[in-house]
Amino acid sequence: MIGFWRTHSSTLITLFLLLPALAGFFGLFFYPMLLTVILSFRPEGQAVGWTLENYTRFLADPDGRWVILLTFILSLGSTALSVLLSVPLALILREKVRGHRFYRLMVLVPLVVPGLIGALGLLLFWGTRGWFNLFLLQFVPFVQRPVAVNYTMHGLIMFYVWLYFPYTCITTLSSLESLDRSIEEAGEVSGATRWQVLRHIVLPLITPGILAGSVLTFMAAFGAFSVPLIAGGNYRPLAVEVYKQISVPIPARWSAAGAIAIVMGALQVIFLSLYMRFVRRGGSPQ
């Protein structure tokens, strides 16, 4: 016994240190996942038997396929817009302009504030009685009636951008700030214009940072639940659809919810692995 301890003590200590993490992982993630998978193959409301019906029903339904498409439109649209917003923003914030501390704080706000409160404020601001429409009606000619933003697809994409662009922006900014300025100076000395420096030196070097940040934004937007739940209206992405299955019908349809949730998780993992592959091949600098 003591001999065993002598030879394996290092391994045993490591194992002991990892024990809480592994217990948490299996108890709070792996086993629940397994349960969800099993549940999704059970006939509705029964603890025995196997069926594919939950999947076929959801995937064969045109509404189900629209939900999947909608989720991708929302998450990819908001990711693209976040990148378009973040890159210029990070380039400006790097320059330490006056008040840059305040603007950096602004970028952090949506991360720290509960998403539901953000969504509530956005609904109030962009609503038909909110300041946005008030401004349009009073100061912009030819606008006779309020413009609909809330509960529309473009409105929802904009809300997503508000909530999730900080992931992309912060990651882009940190990779910009770790960039060596002398490389850019070398480019300028060699006669490159500012645009050429930006296009051929800075952007390729920060592309991995941008892509990594956009992955975080995509994951958050794909799994978004609270915001579309209260601000989505008729646009219900996958996460909301899962919750509807267990909250609306009586009795709750846990198996249907499980099947949709598994489809959702599988789609995210497949998409992310394709994306990472793309990032490793094309995105990283040589």
Partner: protein, 278 residues
């Protein structure tokens, strides 16, 4: 081509104006929702095309406290947050030490596996967590909701703390040993001050995640464990926007305090969790 170049030069000349336009409109975009919530929470009789509410009142706050039961909800949220932070910090310290400072085979793979919950949408395993907690009767208990939060918080704690421990310089410890410090002294006077910022950062981030966690709470809460995000959701469902706004104002205060601490003490990159484990 000349036109493009002239256009480019004009843009470059106006770069300061352009930059500030972008920054100011971004700030408006971010802050306007909170301004609207703040105005709505103190306004009375605010209908039609008015920029500001015609009358001011604090009634909605009274309603929020009395009917919305905000003090009770705040207490629940804090208790759950503290339990979740404690559990995930313990997990993070143990696992972070193993990942940051010990040799083991397959470290990268194991790390990727433990960080896997960040790659899967929470609703997927929240369904299973709810099922388990129903059988264990953990639903509607502080411990149950807090444990559900741990599944989100712990990966961040492990990520932050393993980076902290990895950055601990072996030579500093040796120097302390050479100077005659024994193990206990070394721990309290050298190791602890060095790792304290990392542990604090991990605790702040875990708390933020627990404070904002909605999906897992919604599937495990009950009448005795209503937390702030769930309370907001229920209030939005009730449709009284003024009272909901007053509640939101009360809830946003702790978030802003956290924001101030993060701005001073920690690197924001860590808040988004880095991308080591993605």
């Amino acid at each position: 081509m000349r036109l493009v170049r002239a256009y480019g030069r004009a843009m470059w000349d106006a770069r300061l104006i352009l930059a500030y336009t972008l920054l100011v409109s971004l700030s408006l975009f971010i802050l306007a929702p909170f301004l609207m919530i703040a105005l709505r929470s103190v306004g009375k009789g605010w209908f039609g095309r008015l920029w500001l509410p015609p009358q001011l009142t604090l009634d909605w706050y009274r309603w929020a406290v009395e009917v919305g039961n905000i003090p009770e909800v705040m207490k629940n949220t804090l208790i759950i947050g503290v339990i979740a932070v404690a559990v995930s910090t313990v997990i993070g310290i143990f696992a972070g030490w193993a990942f940051g400072r010990r040799q083991m085979p397959g470290k990268e793979v194991l790390m990727a596996i433990i960080l896997l919950p960040r790659m899967i949408p929470p609703i997927t395993y929240a369904l299973g967590v709810a099922q388990i907690f129903y059988t264990l009767e953990l639903v509607d208990t502080y411990l149950g909701v807090a444990l559900a939060h741990v599944s989100v918080c712990a990966p961040y704690a492990i990520l932050v703390l393993s980076a902290t421990f990895e950055g601990l310089d072996e030579r500093v410890l040796e120097a302390a040993g050479v100077c005659g410090a024994n193990t206990v002294k070394r721990f309290f006077y050298v190791v602890l001050p060095l790792i304290m910022p990392g542990i604090l950062a991990s605790m702040i981030f875990s708390f933020t995640h627990s404070y904002n966690e909605f999906t897992l709470t919604l599937l495990t809460y009950g009448p005795h464990t209503v937390t702030l995000p769930v309370r907001t959701y229920l209030a939005v469902g009730d449709g009284y926007w003024e009272i909901t706004s007053a509640m939101a104002m009360l809830m946003v205060v702790p978030s802003l305090l956290i924001l101030a601490v993060i701005q001073r003490r920690a690197k924001p990159e860590k808040l988004v969790g880095g991308f080591k484990g993605v």
